[in-house]
């Protein structure tokens, strides 16, 4: 049995904000009819969180549900729990047209922390309005981070969690480092 490692094995950086690859995070892509009661129940049972609305995420620590598209959810669970939760999802949705796939090792997850300045770090890289009131805790956004797709949410007012493809983990880490470089605060959003 090989030892699972995350893309950057917990790499971190300290600038005007702190960047950290959080290590192994269980992630399941669940596609299907999001209005279906069985699917909502199964997603809630897998994560202990309620079904989020459009472009929202209900996440606590490493468990939760993020709304990816009208027919797709990102299910976050502890890395070691993925196989068991996948099996439970498959059983609960056996009669529904759906797809549930373990994508944990296909992605990388970063945490950006250090206060309201995290809004500026994201705003430098993504075409998203990061002003207070336009984006906040509970919101979830899929977008572009410089040249690659990424998604993020704010667990609280002082931090952001970012998901990207594993193959571009180093690129995204470098982007975040650049945007969080000492002396680079803009002072517009924070």
């Amino acid at each position: 049995m090989s030892e699972a490692v995350s893309a950057l094995q917990g790499a971190s950086y300290d600038g005007i904000a702190q960047v950290r690859e959080i290590g192994l995070q269980g992630m399941i892509t669940l596609r299907g009819d999001l209005g279906n009661t069985a699917l909502k129940k199964a997603a809630a049972a897998a994560t202990g969180q309620d079904m989020p609305g459009q472009r929202k995420a209900n996440v606590k620590d490493d468990s939760g549900i993020a709304w990816m598209s009208p027919d797709e959810l990102l299910i976050l669970v502890p890395y070691d729990a993925v196989d068991a939760r996948l099996e439970a999802l498959g059983k609960a949705l056996a009669k529904q047209h759906h797809m549930a796939v373990n994508v944990s090792d296909a992605r990388a997850v970063f945490e950006l922390s250090g206060g309201p300045v995290v809004r500026e770090v994201i705003a430098k890289l993504c075409p998203v309005d990061m002003a207070v009131g336009a984006f906040g805790a509970g919101d979830f956004r899929r977008t572009r981070m410089a040249q690659v797709p990424a998604a993020f949410w704010m667990p609280d007012e002082n931090s952001v969690r970012i998901v990207c493809f594993r193959s571009v983990a180093q690129y995204v880490f470098d982007l975040l480092k650049g945007a969080a470089a000492p002396g680079s605060a803009v002072g517009y959003l924070a």
Partner: protein, 109 residues
């Protein structure tokens, strides 16, 4: 810079979050069609100055295809609407008429 609203996820984003997919409402001609129909399906696209209908994909987002009605000269977007339709909805046509009375595009006006 175009500002588009994705009808599926509701994001209003600038055009680099999306990808253009060419002319909208193109009727497919495949096996069994005449050579001229197939040629027109592949190559005969309009390139108007003014009102235009296009397909776009929210590629750096929810991933869905949708339609957009916009003006190629002013970059104004009259509206966006789902992909599952053969023609622009009436409210999109009305929005265009309000700004460009007498407009026409292909068989629509």
């Amino acid at each position: 810079m175009l500002i588009l609203t994705c009808p599926y996820c509701g994001v209003t984003g600038e055009e680099t979050e999306f990808h253009g997919g060419g002319e909208a409402h193109v009727k497919r001609f495949g096996p069994g069609s005449s050579d001229s129909e197939f040629r027109d399906y592949l190559f005969s696209k309009v390139n108007p100055k003014g009102v235009h209908f296009e397909r776009w994909r929210h590629n750096n987002g929810c991933g869905k295809w949708f339609h957009a009605a916009r003006d190629t000269m002013t970059l104004e977007v009259y509206g966006t609407y789902p992909a599952q339709t053969f023609e622009p909805p009436q409210e999109i046509k009305d929005a265009i008429t309000a700004k460009r009375p007498g407009w026409s595009w292909r068989e629509f006006s």
